[in-house]
Amino acid sequence: MPGSWTAREFPNLKDSDYKITSEYSEEYNCLAWAVGDVDQRWDPDEMDQYYWPPGVPREVTVAAVVAAFQTKGFEPSPDSSLEEGIEKIAIYATSDGRPTHAARQLKNGHWTSKLGNCEDVEHETLDCLTGEVRDAQGRIMCYGRPVCYMRRPRE
């Protein structure tokens, strides 16, 4: 079943790669979903309109996203392998270093992602959400690839 995203945003995503696990929602985004928060959008927007953990720089950088997740007990992890009792997050970024997305590992080794304003999906691999296609303005519209991982004890 196709989601409400556009195919251009996920050039490597095939129908067999995922299943939709929620309704479309703008109430939360991928960063919030990664830490289990479905009440608010996490976004370091410069206009200071969205939630961002106090004390963490409001900047769209991987370092700022890592610092935001650290406020929820996550620490850097060397890889994305499945470990008993450990919850992991993968942070995606484009080749120019801009963070784009975060996915959370499930107990079965699959990953769960909130795709922007669209649905939540469960996907088997991190690779299926990768890609780097530019729009008419030359902006990268895809998630790029996973550039770092974080971990915390699973509750």
């Binding site: 109430e27 959008r41 996490w42 206009m47 309109q49």
Partner: protein, 146 residues
Amino acid sequence: MIPSIQPASIAAADNTISTSLYIQQFRPFTSVHSTDAIEEMVSLDWQREAIEVEFNRLLDKWREERSAASSFVVVNATHPAYQRIIGMGPRVLPFIVRELERKNDHWYWALKAISGEDPVTPESRGRMREMRDAWLRWAREKHYAR
């Protein structure tokens, strides 16, 4: 009471709009008798319509081209069409508010950038419904919305 006469309703057959015709129809319904004053009112009405047309054009372009999958608002708020809407200034605020009344969407960057105000409390940041309520309350206070 001034009736709602839309310029388009008295457009000539060749689709041009006649100021004199508009004034002729408008004058009986107003206590303003100065032709200059009426012309200014008519001009403002036309400006409003022109702004609405341009806003709707940019809105369509933004909705068509923006990223649905992006989680960072900056990606879509820096889209050229969204930036053009911000560049239209305070005159576009009633139309942004109208869109926000219809559907919750990421208008908060534009509203804050244009107005320089921020009715969203720290506790409501990121909570889309509360953000919408705060901005619509602000819009009513500023007479941008009913």
